[in-house]
Amino acid sequence: MYEVFAHTADVGIRVRAGSLEDLFADAARGLVSLIVTNLEQVKPVQEKVIRIEGDDREYLLFDWLNELLYQFDAEQLLLTDFTIRFDRDGLTATCRGERMEFSRHDMDHEVKAITYHGLTLERKADHWLAEVIVDI
């Protein structure tokens, strides 16, 4: 699950999940929910495989969200459904979604960037917790 929290000029996303895979998928949906309010209207008709490399989990999360932001800004691709696999060198995600359509998608924020400010990813006793602040 994700929730959106306040930060003076910008907006944060807080994610709790039972697995790292779910954490990354929910963080991604949290990000896309800032761009389009009716996520359920995004149909999983197009597939895109994304590869992110790195060994630092926080940077991996950062780069992952950044890649999704790029897919939207350059390709207008809204991705909301994910199958994520981690390996030693990073992650591979099969992402599903579709191109933005103003007639069906209720567009909301222009997310300028993912920021490092307050970026955290921690393993708690029985779940994973991550926070990231995005620049609006």
Partner: protein, 487 residues
Amino acid sequence: MSKPGFHGPLERVNDCCWRIPKSYKKGMRVDGLIYASEAMLDQIKGDQAPEQVANVAFLPGIQHASLAMPDIHWGYGFCIGGVCATDPEEGGVISPGGVGYDINCGVRLVRSNLDYQEVKPHLVELVDRLFRNVPAGVGRGGKYKFNRRELAQLMQLGPACLQDRGLTTAGDLDHTEAGGCLAGAVPEAVSDRAMERGSGQCGTLGSGNHFLEVQVVDAIFDDVAAAAMGLHKDMVCVMIHSGSRGLGYQVCDDALKQLRGVPEKYGIELPDRQLACAPIESPEGEQYLGAMCAAANYAWCNRQLLMAQARDVFAEVFGRSWQSLQMNLVYDVAHNIAKLETHALGGRRRRVWVHRKGATRAFPPHHKEVPDVYQKIGQPVLIPGDMGRASWVLVGQAGSMEQTFGTACHGAGRKMSRTQAVRQAKGRRIDQELAARGVVARARGWRGLAEEQPDAYKDVNTVVDVVHHANLAAKVARMRPIGVIKG
């Protein structure tokens, strides 16, 4: 994330200035100085912005002080409203966080020969047409398309390269900070990804706090300066606030990625990752500077094309060319930028990189970088407020060179988070409330207006009072909004 306030020291320097002594934190190289009135302090201490002022004081090569303007609020790394100058000769660094994601976000003001009474009967039509013709909002591409070679030109030359398409005049360039072109631009340092994000976005407003407003001059405070700018009471103006769009965001992002591990490489200790930096005289620093200057030039093109589209709409609605409407550019200022400037420090003139993150250059009269027509009055400083109250035109004063590396504030500054603003707006129609105040507002969605409602911002008048009394910039004219378009 919890939001604890700032509990460190804020010592009074004078009525307009408060000091965080460098003894506050081990690692601070200079004091922090916050320009604010006493009444603003509670609000300022309510979040971590002062802590960020202290953190910036860690940067190698920082001169004089880590500064903040009265519109200070919590950012990431640097506070918004933050100013710092670093000297390359003292190992000074350049920090992308000190510029921000939206490189050369800025404001321009266009005058006209229309008075409010002439525009009033056409106001709804005017704002509707502006909303239709000026691309605004997330995912809205522009009508101008540039191929890679043309994009590289925009980044190298700024709006000057739009002259042969009839989209820029010599007068526009003369009235743009730096002539709309930073000399150090290296388009090759801009990534393919940044180019892709930027190729269809030049001439688009974006969303968030970006806007295009139709305004009326409702008070003049300095007749001579107002006359030099061609402003008089009741005149209708256009104010445009936007930046470098996806291209600039990607340049900043690329730089922050490239700078991972770089501070450690040069032995630089930082209290916050978002302050990532590199020595100005290093391959990493030079790479960022080349790309940052390129993105800045692109941003000036963006505002130029936004203005061109606004001029066209006015010409359609009023049936006269923009030239006959005398829709001349008063000035264009950058408020997220780093620039190499000469400042007097310790009795000698030094070349320093001035980072302005949500702060506006405010050069005084007779400064050589001020256009000829403004030599006697000083550089116009444009301060947008919120969409219900006011925006301001000021002129740079001598005090800015003595105190703040020629800098003043950049806006009202948020006081409510976006989520808080939306909560407060539940069940309200912000557009109707604005209409009752005489402001025609058009936005893509309810939420955009809710987040940007006037109450979400500090009162810009109090911010302007501080820079005026601190002798950083002097009041010339106040405008009130009558038409607003938002993404």
